[in-house]
Subunit: 205 residues, 2 copies
Amino acid sequence: MTPAFELPQIAPESFERADAARNRERILCAARRLFDERGAGCVSMDDVAEEAGVGKGTLFRRFGSRASLAAAVLSERERNFQEAIIRGEPPLGPGAPPCERLVAFGESLLDTLEAHTELFLAAEIGPGRFVHPAYVVHRLHVTLLLREADPVCDAEMLSDTLLAALGADLFIHLRRVRGMSLERLKQGWGELVGRTVPAPEQAGV
Amino acid sequence: MTPAFELPQIAPESFERADAARNRERILCAARRLFDERGAGCVSMDDVAEEAGVGKGTLFRRFGSRASLAAAVLSERERNFQEAIIRGEPPLGPGAPPCERLVAFGESLLDTLEAHTELFLAAEIGPGRFVHPAYVVHRLHVTLLLREADPVCDAEMLSDTLLAALGADLFIHLRRVRGMSLERLKQGWGELVGRTVPAPEQAGV
DNA sequence: TGGTTGACCGGACTTCAGTCCGTTTCGCAT
DNA sequence: ATGCGAAACGGACTGAAGTCCGGTCAACCA
């Protein structure tokens, strides 16, 4: 039981041997390709190892778990998303009121979920989901916006609570099993946010 | 207001052969015992089958999956819970305003989560979580209360959204990893519900 | 350039959920 | 009682995630 996480996105560790770097790249490449052509649900770790021309031990050494590999594959898109949040145009980026930014945040995440449903599902299973860098960043973002909109609320907890509404398993259920449209999910998110954090200029209901 | 629906619990199907009933009881008994003494996380399906003196095929024939078995073990408590919701005293049962009933619902669920964390976690993994009778009943309950409190909201979707805040994996994270107290979780739930569905007599904030 | 070291490699191995199918047993009708 | 068909039984089998460990080789230093 090694709870050690590779931080797949931000930086390779202090120093990485040449063969290690090469294999990491090969694995990511193979995983991306296989996930893309078969869907994440139909790709085993053995498949990835073979496609990458790498032993299974190496695969797990670099990425720790299946969920972590899926998250790493998503990390490029995630980096763009974070960039848009931190430095992009409003309403996703800074400049808009918190409520609108939260709505934009959720809608953007829902779009990404729609486009990469299976990959997200693979990335969100097991413990450690809430500890993954991407999730931590999302939570921090939501926490700050909540606190800005309403300094007295328990933003630390509300943020996790709101993010739970954007989980991949729930998304799949609402979208595929119950057949709700993406538009409806977005409106639902907007409704939830609108009720949770009222806009400042809104005096009475 | 009178939910005269028959709960689709784990009711034995139309007719159950004597050996089937006997084995089902044995399995439930063994599972309860093992889960109780080792914690659900440390009990494999083979363990349960052996303890019950039953083949593995039988185990899966009766319960379908590990998650489903865990849910079945929880079902007695769940039945009591449903009883309290449908016919019990307010604020959990009928008679209190929807907002208060929702708060009581969540607090009660959080208490149960606190007492049987691992079992809930085992029961909530995999797809089919949202299709399980217990979840469906919870959602229906929340949906009706939401609709009663605010007929114009998208209660169908908000109910799933709110219930996501009571998921076992999130509970474990908040409680054990982030170290929040049970009391704080209850307050957070109250805050979320209070914002989502304002009480009717509450004119201004 | 050649030696040393420790990180890295790979694939066999373990564990566990879930499936399959030949065999057994139950319930019923005669 | 007895024969029959359907349902249940059980355990060997499969497939996949994650672990282990002996061998290898990249980096660095002399």
